[in-house]
Amino acid sequence: MTGEARRPPLMLRAKLRRALGGQAGWSGFALQVVLVVALAWIGHEIIDNARDNLATQKIASGFGFLWSTAGFGVSQTLIPYSESDTYLRVLLVGLTNTLAVSIVGIIFATIIGFMVGLGRLSSNWLLSRIAGAYVELIRNLPLLFQILFWYLAVLAALPQPRQSINLFDSVFLSNRGFGMPKPIGTEALAPFAIAIGIALLLVVALRAISQRVLFATGRQIVIWPMVLAALIGLPVLTVFIFGKPWTLDYPVLRGFNFSGGMRMVPEFAALAIALSTYSAAFIAEIVRAGVQSVHKGQPEAGASLGLSRGDVLRLIVVPQAMRVILPPLTNQYLNLTKNSSLAVAIGYPDLVSVFAGTTLSQTGQAIEIVAITMAIYLAISLITSALMSVYGWRMSRSMGT
């Protein structure tokens, strides 16, 4: 690893100094001031003009509408919501729904994408062809089409609630979604959670110790049996002492639909499946490019040291590939989050659907609502890429470059 060490991405002082003229000195600084003033003036003109026009047209403006009662229902909410809540609450409901489907999508897209990408590079002919076919098929079909396919062709074909597919009387699959038992915490939940926390700390400590021993003596300690014992043993022990940490609330068919339990609506499932499989195809290509960018001498050197194939991949190839993978991977995460707004086509209540859709048409306050929505998407994107840069920086540091 040659070249200059990478700067931490959030080093504010260096950034500030560069922003204030940088190499161009004071003339550069002056130019930037002029630009900022010009932009501020244009922004002011736009806002002023819009406000005048709204007033002459007698269109309500301002953000006061956020505190009036929404009065409409939403099919899936992660936070408590009822019709008598405010539009601000609707905004939060939409935002949490967008985040939920994006996070689930990102996790699965990453897992599938890495598996397919590495699979495509595999020396197994069948595996690499299947991975190749997956990539070519998925990334060449429009995303909206795929969402509608999952929603209308696959999930809508599930039976009605009364004939739902029943697994052990606890999981129910129907065209209204997936009903599952909902855990309700008891008094024993707290010790149980603490036990898991302690177990996790133990695992971290064990890892550190084993690494230290490895570096000091070259001897590898097998820690997985101890890890397993801590992770399973400790929580189980609390169950014996304090009793069950939760009871299960089972879904029961009552009237038209299931009540009780947890339910994942089919809109969420269709969107999450489509988003993660679609982005996975692109991530697979990114992973393939990243792995291929690592010089073949590197794994060969690893093999000659006597490392196993898995260790070569884990310790030598992937860390180097990650430097190539991370920037385009971040783009895919951003795309996935933004693409979740296609939810509106299948009635999943995401931010665009309930806030930039329903709320907008009920209040008519297009400018405010579009501005808030833009600001939120911008913030989500900036936060995502900031987290990814921090991750990339830590990773390159841990590699000792």
Binding site: N53, T56, K58, I59, G73, F256
Partner: protein, 338 residues
Amino acid sequence: MKSATLMLTLAIAAGWTAQGASAQTLKTVKDRGVLSCGVTQGLPGFSAPDDRGNWAGLDVDLCRGIAAAIFNDATKVKYVPLSAKDRFTALQSGEIDVLSRNTTWTLSRDTSLGVNFAGINYYDGQGFMVRKALKVNSALELNSASVCLQTGTTNEQNLADFFKGNNMKYEVVAFSTADEVVKAYESGRCDAFTADISQLYAERLKLTTPADHEVLPQVISKEPLGPLVRHGDDQWLDVVRWTLFAQVNAEELGITQKNVDDQAKSDKPELKRIFGTDGSLGEQLGLTKDWFHRIIKATGNYGESFDRHVGPGSKLGIARGLNQLWNKGGIMFAPPIR
């Protein structure tokens, strides 16, 4: 995404260009040579392309009537199909001159959206459609049901009020276009489909076997539907409003598309005023003397339009009900032309 981009463009356009578009709509339309009329994305009976691909329906007849009054040519209309949630922004931003799209007149819309309602061309109410196989006889038996609807409508809040008021639970599944609602309802995603009753009858025609579905008798709201224009242009409001009133008055006076030429020659003082052979009512509207004649010649009277598109003479087969004239048992009433 397409609709999000549209919303953004329209929102910005509303901010920038509103002043130019807010006054003198009549002059703008005359100069342009064509009326821009916002309609639905396809609601049989109200605004939908017919067998030959021409827009037709009760709401479309109003657009045609206005075009006839201005240009003496009912075809000089550019139809702009709009979803429920995009319709107001399209009007505010000046993309359309008049919104004739089964829109419910409510206080908040009238006061906060920068629009004015020109009148009511259909008295409706919200109801429910269900599969006959469900054996539901009343909307009050819908506790815990999933209900599909189109977002951006008054239906959304009425539904919440109705279920809350009757202490019943429900799950709402909201889509942005009517066709998506129909698809979801047909696939069994929801137990009931809620919309204005006229719309339910119209959407039912799109189902594979319409006979398997029924519209429940309960009406849970008042939905007076009518055309609307931008706030702040009184002359244009008058043109739209009196086109509708002309159609209703024509029915009351027995003037039809067929007999309008003969009636125009009548010596009756009332008819002479209406047809412009006496006085200058048409010019006062900013139109021509024969404005009334032009409208009825092009679209027929309200009753004819109703029968042709939504009434017994149409596929929908909806009874006149409240939409019958005031002197025949309904509440359709137009101020006199004098």
